[in-house]
Symmetry: C2
């Protein structure tokens, strides 16, 4: 029996993780669930999965949660610090970090430092603090299992292989909803258009990241830290059908790929069941039905965010954290209607160029950069508003 | 330093194996080379690779070979028995069996029984005597490394995986030169048309097998013995570009594939360097250049040989050996102009139905079936000629 904690249990990754766990009642037991503020869904999850602890990040909602639950055996807490305490709970064997954005970084660090393995959907953890996290993994002898479909694909392709034999990794991306849209029309993109992903059903933040292709840029940085490869050995290929989830090319020119229908439940389940593939009854990939898979190079002119991510990775230090924090703010601003879609890369570039660069930051310096950047963008937006 | 023996060094697989070995002079030393009768090429190979032993299968050519070599340190022998003796030479760490057709089976058995690992390009060994070979591998603690691009792909996809997690394997095939040709026109197919494979540069026998798709049928039987899977867990998908060389679907719906340009040197090198991928300077796969990969179900009506192979596998015993021997004869007859292309499956079916079936044959019984079948087809052809 594996004890599982889920950070962000009411979000897209969290609910799918619970769907997987529900199918293996003999294998997994839930130690804790956390939500930002979705009381209704959390209450249902508590009834079904009977976790020992729950935490609601929005402190002011704790009384409502207690009212909704009535008499219950579950331990209830609230607020950011309580969430970080749960992340550090070492009764847990594996924590699924399904938090969204930079807020997911510190819980990852808490879990690893407590000796708990992390199934990481929150790519921002590695984007912002990959070097620090890799050090902590070594110190505490803990493991990080990628949940992103691309990184799960690479991880699966590398099973049983010697890392020294890797020539490069190839991250595939659908190209998002605007792959074929002329750049001249980007200024008129609406929120509704940007939220319509052609293949994947994901949360709002990551769906916008997919539309700007920043998602792919962040994945390059994530891949760098997960697989210990330089930027020059990490390529992006656009593959609109999202069937090949990523690939590894070896020194002899042999390429391994992992494929599947675009369903996050496969990488989520694999992170839980690794190194095994447990049975699942969901729909199977049938390539004869799909008929064709296509591939093209990404348009770096249209999707400047990709270029920004490679530059930040090359620069190192606080640059990727600055990029990520600026992106969190810019995406939120776009979703709130505060900025148009095509302004996102410009805002990121400006924010990165204006932050106080530190070539060897500790976690406090990274958090400081994050605060600085948030303030910079919010100030800028309030001036232009 | 690994000592290598090559059975069929002047053939397509043999010459490509030597190309690979030439790039790693520190890693491999050649113990022996054998040829059917290509003295000119063998002499060149002896000069470059300096093997300890050579054998020419056509006994009557030994004097010519001795003349061509003059004074030399290499041990020369000739004839089938001498070839079998070399196959059993246990100074060798790995033998590459690049022989063509059923004649390759006995050398495989000799090598395994001498405790020598075999890199197997000769799929007929497993098609005819898979059960016997698997027993011998266990008894002698030897290993079989697939060289066929499809089986090498599956082998690579299974690296580090638990076989219990396999749901099925998917063998890809180009569909050969007649994939889109209407069945009504099959009776007019010429030898030249059948020898033109769209993607792979291979020997004549295997190129015809590719045109009838019997090659894919034999590969299903080969896969059954290599990967210990029932016929129902082995699928064929037609993939005209020959970029995905085969796939494995796991219990969770995750699919792994191995890809590369259609170049036998990759699987040949991997069989030599396993478990590592050593550097190679040949051309790399670039999916953005290839643009699209397509997939379709095989047309079992047009390519009846596939159906015959599944039936032989289900029937077991001597049925696959009979199928294989009949196919060796039928392909030779087609190449000699004795039968038209579209008659190949009919001849196979008749030969299988008329052989003396044995449900649990030993190696002598298999060889007896082979002789019977050859005689049956030759008699039949001399009557109709």
């Amino acid at each position: 029996m594996k004890n599982i904690g889920i950070l962000g249990s009411t979000g897209s990754i969290g609910t799918q993780t619970l769907e997987v766990i529900r199918r293996f009642p003999e294998e997994y037991s839930l130690t804790y669930l956390t939500t930002n503020g979705n009381i209704e869904l959390l209450v249902k999850q508590i009834e079904i999965f009977k976790p020992e602890y729950v935490c609601i990040a929005r402190e002011e909602l704790e009384p409502d949660l207690r009212d909704a639950l009535g008499n219950t055996a579950v331990h209830i807490s609230s607020g950011r610090n309580a969430l970080l305490d749960l992340a550090a709970n070492n009764e847990v064997d594996l924590v699924m970090n399904g938090l969204v954005g930079g807020a997911g970084m510190e819980p990852t660090i808490k879990a690893i430092s407590a000796g708990v393995d992390v199934a990481l959907s929150n790519k921002e953890s590695l984007v912002m603090a990959g070097g620090i996290i890799n050090n902590l993994l070594q110190i505490h002898g803990t493991q990080l299992f990628p949940v992103d479909s691309e990184h799960s694909a690479i991880w699966q392709c590398l099973t049983g292989e010697d890392h020294a034999d890797i020539k490069k990794i190839i991250l595939t991306g659908s190209g998002g909803p605007f792959r074929t849209k002329p750049i001249e029309t980007f200024e008129h993109i609406t929120k509704e258009e940007a939220l319509k992903h052609p293949n994947w059903d994901m949360g709002a933040k990551i769906t916008i990241d997919s539309a700007t292709m920043m998602n792919k840029g962040l994945e390059v940085i994530e891949a760098h830290w997960l697989f210990h490869l330089p930027a020059s050995a990490i390529e992006i290929v656009v593959h609109p059908q999202s069937i090949i989830h990523s690939m590894v090319e070896f020194a002899d020119g042999s390429v391994k790929a992992q494929l599947g229908l675009p369903d996050m439940k496969i990488p989520i389940q694999y992170a839980l069941t690794y190194p095994h593939h447990l049975p699942a009854d969901w729909e199977r990939l049938d390539l004869t039905q799909i008929g064709e898979l296509t591939f093209e190079s990404p348009d770096l002119n249209k999707f400047h965010c990709i270029q920004l991510a490679y530059e930040a990775l090359e620069k190192g230090g606080t640059a990727p954290a600055a990029l990520n924090s600026a992106n969190d703010e810019a995406v939120a601003a776009f979703l709130n209607g505060a900025i148009p879609f095509h302004q996102i890369p410009n805002i990121l570039e400006e924010a990165i160029n204006n932050h106080e660069f530190d070539s060897d930051p500790d976690i406090l310096a990274i958090q400081e950069v994050s605060t600085q950047i948030s303030k910079f963008i919010q100030d800028k937006l309030s001036v232009t508003a």
